[in-house]
Symmetry: C2
Subunit: 330 residues, 2 copies
């Protein structure tokens, strides 16, 4: 299976539809990362200004709009979502000992692990202050549960690193927690603010979208464009993460294939040649295609979830986002 | 000035007065640190079971009791306070590269920096879930502000490390944030739950108590009993932290004294002989006595703050706690 052609409008229409709200989000992101302790805005802005897609806050805004919410709570919750994501990235880079993030040196390489940990904590605190400001206990419950779930997933991933026998159930539990939980919170926040009865379906939309998004991320770690991704190909392999493509290729491989995967994942020594070889194996065994197909199935379920939302332009745009998530190449 | 004789009852009476509530807190601490990801309870319980004084949750419970609160919100908020504190310790150990905590190997030495960062994040998420459970937006605002302030203070401390010219204002800003803010939130939570009009004074009590507590902690880093403290004497010096005793001894010292302090704080090379020499200098210049006197002044202000509370046994006990904070030797 080849990737479907990129629907260039998939994300562009979303960007346009929430442009006003995102101006507000971008202003809040900058103002609430301010401090007279200069290291805080320096570290925060290094990552914040590095051009992430900001898909999560856009989802919060678009959902609020689709359900007819009038108020500024969506902008604040969208900012909180992006802060939670940024805090996670800062801590992840420390955990994964990453050198690069979004095409730049990771903050920890410039300011040290310490600053990355503490500025992450600061942004998490600011995220909760914004949520309190909005005053919805339901939204606060949603995001505090997501915060605990995300870190639980990260610990699960850490505990299963460098282990080739973790299996698919482990992998799915990790991506449910580390990616799908925040997507689900981001999409549920809008209907919660609007007092909609479709919150559960929209949360499910976010969850399915997040799973599709992460599956494709893990495919792109083998098949992506390093420059456009802003990180290196094969990062997961270097970190001993047995993602779905690896698990599938291992299952389908010969004895010598399996020995190769065990060496890569468990011994922690991965050369450039190994990365290239791994890329061939996940392609030739059909593992990448299978992972893409599963991402497609989750995207399809996300689109189904949207049937609980009011029909109209915004719903069409979100359907395109789900389709785009699977076809994207970075 | 010698330390006043220890008032053995200062903390014992507090412990007895909130024993029932603390049973509830201890049960919640264990149950909410549970996860099928075994590394989470392992890391959390390593620190949780290591015998911290749990002064912060006891303050929350005693305040709630003093203001006549009836309900289980105090037990939940007290647990959240202790989780926030535990999360801070886990992250601090990574930031300070500490080997020991409460007389045991620091969690990061056993499970690694990664697990310490992530389990800290998990406990912070669980803390917010408990607060949401209680349902007081005012308490949520209090604790989310404290969370942001604490990490801001930690970054301030990090940014000023290994610098002998930071000055007293910097030092005070650091301890206001990293210690006084959580004490203040812990003591304000009780009156908030009880709907008391004395919340502001009780927050001030916590702030003053926290400042006294931290000043004495920093004195004990030179003059304490290593075994009882559960950490090494001179840790702050090794970490390049110019605490108040150091700043005062530097101000009062000769040119050669100043050269000694600059070498210790700024070069980051501190021998056992240097620690002993530093201990003599802070004692002989009167720096330790002055730091103790300032702690006493904050404890006195804390006792004044209590005049806004209902008179009775609990208020007497909290007065004794303030007095004990200054006289303690570990």
């Amino acid at each position: 299976m080849e990737a479907a052609p990129v629907r260039a409008n998939g994300i562009d229409a979303l960007v346009s539809s929430v442009a006003d709200g995102m101006e507000g989000v971008n202003a809040l992101i900058v103002s609430h990362a301010g401090s007279d302790v200069m290291m805080i805005p320096e570290v925060a802005n290094h990552l914040i200004s590095s051009g992430g897609k900001r898909i999560r806050p856009m989802l919060t805004l678009s959902m609020a709009k689709m359900f007819g919410y009038r108020g500024d709570g969506d902008v604040k919750l969208a900012t909180a979502v992006e802060y939670m994501h940024t805090a996670t990235l800062l801590h992840d880079d420390v955990v994964d000992e990453s050198d690069m993030r979004r095409g730049r040196a990771a903050a920890r390489k410039i300011w040290g692990n310490q600053a990355s940990v503490l500025v992450g904590d600061f942004l998490l605190g600011q995220a909760f202050k914004l949520m309190v400001d909005v005053g919805s206990l339901e939204a606060l419950g949603l995001f505090s549960s997501a915060a605990a779930t995300i870190s639980e997933g990260e610990v699960r991933q850490l505990a299963g690193a460098k282990n080739m026998s973790v299996g698919e159930a482990h992998y799915m539990a990790v991506i449910e927690a580390k990616t799908a939980a925040l997507f689900a919170a981001a999409t549920a926040a809008g209907p919660i603010l609007a007092g909609s009865s479709a919150t559960r379906s929209m949360k499910s939309f976010g969850r399915h979208l997040g799973l599709a998004f992460q599956l494709i991320d893990d495919v792109l770690d083998f098949a992506g464009d390093a420059e456009a991704l802003g990180k290196n190909i094969g990062d997961d392999l270097h970190e001993g993460k047995a993602t779905l493509p690896v698990l599938l290729a291992y299952d389908r491989g010969s004895e010598s294939d399996r020995a190769f995967w065990r060496r890569c994942i468990e011994d922690g020594v991965v050369s450039d040649a190994d990365v290239a070889e791994a890329g061939r194996k996940v392609r030739d065994t059909g593992a990448l295609d299978e992972a893409r197909a599963r991402a497609q199935a989750y995207a399809d379920r996300a689109i189904d979830d949207l049937s609980a939302a009011p029909p109209g332009e915004m719903r069409d745009i979100l359907e395109d986002v789900a389709a785009f998530t699977v076809s994207r190449i970075h």
